[in-house]
Amino acid sequence: MSLRRHLITFERITRTGVINFVRNTWLAIAAIAMITITLTIVLFLIITNATFTNTIAQITDRIDVSVYLKDEVTEPQKDNLISQLKSIDNVKSVRYISKAEALKIYQQQNRDDIDLLVAISQTDNPLPASLQIKPDDPNRLQTIKDFLEKTEIKKLQSEETSYSGDRKVAIDKITKATRFFRQAGIAGVAVFIVVSMLIIFNTIRMAIFNRREELGIMRLLGATTWYIRGPFVVETVIYGILAAIISVTICNLVFNISASTFEASSLGLLDINYSSQYFAQHFWVIVGLQLLIGVIVGSVSSIIATRRYLKFKSQTGD
């Protein structure tokens, strides 16, 4: 068949599909509603996942190991310690905070407490110099720990090393929660995709049942499988596209409203600000993804639904 004939056929299939879509308004609404719900869940899952990941990354970034040095530690000793630390596998960076800097930070943090400021400045600076070690992976602090526990290193330290241990517990909790949400979300999406496909099956089957005579005549006159099936696929692809648009619109509205409602912009672990920022930044990717899922759900289910009605008689008996 020439390209022109293909184009003619394509145009006819599309036109019939659009006409059928307009005629089956109520069936269409049911199917679109189901796909919209599915897509919205997918969308929220993606955003929630990104937000949690971001929260974990932020908290993880704050984890460090603080080593407090005795005042008598000399400059070469300190430099030596830093270079030794830097050679440890898991160490990302080492930052030296001198006594003077420590005092400055302390004064900054307690700006409003005049009594404390006076007490500190009257005596000699009591704050120790320190090394802030940032690890690559906060879950593997053991190597750093082992190094710091060596007696010759221990000698240089004034206080117990701080490992931000409490934060690690929190991170573990968030990670677990995230994993749970992700799994629950995927399960939910799977269920809703199946349900919406079933509803589309039903929609198509009813449409086929209503038009079975016409389809039979088309078959007898020599219409190809795709000539008959095409309009149904076009119809359900329209469902998918509309559902994607509705779903993205809903999410957009939700973020607009929540951004103005929750001034604190944070619901426990869920950083709404980041969520809406993520949504805005990835808007077109999300739109594309939603359209893709909608079109796939629509077309796959209509192809399967029409399959058994379009089979040629291949058996030789009745």
């Binding site: 293909h6 006819r12 039979g216 006159l221 020599g222 499988t225 008689k313 058996q315 008996g317 009745d318």
Partner: protein, 227 residues
């Protein structure tokens, strides 16, 4: 043009519909197939349009061997064979013009060609002026002529007419037969099944009689035998 070689079609529940039927039809021939209801006439036509598959035997139509015909090639086969059904099988929500155009749309014919061809065919079957009527607004004979127009609009080499006069009164029945003869004169092979004695006896064409799934007579100029 049409060749059936010892074709048997068995239905599980009803036994044999056709039993070792052999038939050869030359191009441009006009063949009437007669026989009582349930003799196997419709089954024969359904085998030719590949609505049914034979249990055994060979069918070759227009050079196509049905044994090697793939499912995906069935639409192409059906576009080459025009079929007229006893119950017309018209689309009630489409006009006369649209019903005939439908056969061309399926075959990816351009709109321009459709607008050119359909009126000519409607003229041949005597339905000029009825283009915008719906099937429900037409008489039985007119509906059957729409069905014939739809069957021949693609200029098939073969036209199968399954009791096209079955639902018509004698006058309309003769109108329809007249149209079939006209189409045959244009060079189309026509296979007509009927049990209308009057038509068979007056047409003076080849008559094949089927009874209980077997061909009992095949006469070059046949008459209807009521026995």
């Amino acid at each position: 043009m049409i060749l059936l070689d010892r074709v048997t079609k068995t239905y599980d529940r009803r036994g044999s519909a056709l039993l070792r039927v052999s038939l050869h039809v030359e191009p441009k021939e006009f063949v009437i197939i007669v026989g009582p209801s349930g003799a196997g006439k419709s089954t024969l036509l359904k085998l030719l349009t590949r609505e049914e598959k034979p249990t055994s035997g060979k069918i070759i139509v227009g050079g196509i061997d049905y044994e090697t015909l793939k499912d995906r090639d069935i639409p192409m086969l059906r576009r080459r064979i025009g079929v007229v059904f006893q119950d017309f099988k018209l689309l009630s929500n489409k006009t006369v013009f649209e019903n005939v155009a439908f056969a061309l749309e399926i075959a990816s014919i351009s709109n321009k060609e459709i607008r050119h061809t359909v009126p000519k065919v409607l003229d041949i079957v005597g339905l000029k002026g009825k283009e915008n009527s719906y099937p429900t607004e037409l008489s039985g004979g007119e509906r059957q002529r729409v069905a014939i127009a739809r069957a021949v609009v693609r200029q098939p080499k073969i036209l199968l007419a399954d009791e096209p006069t079955g639902n018509l009164d004698p006058k309309h029945a003769w109108d329809v037969v007249g149209v079939l003869e006209k189409i045959n004169r244009f060079g189309t092979t026509v296979l007509l099944t009927t049990h209308n004695q009057d038509i068979v006896n007056n047409l003076k064409r080849r008559v094949v009689t089927i009874k209980d799934g077997q061909i009992t007579s095949d006469k070059a100029v046949g008459r209807y035998k009521s026995s």
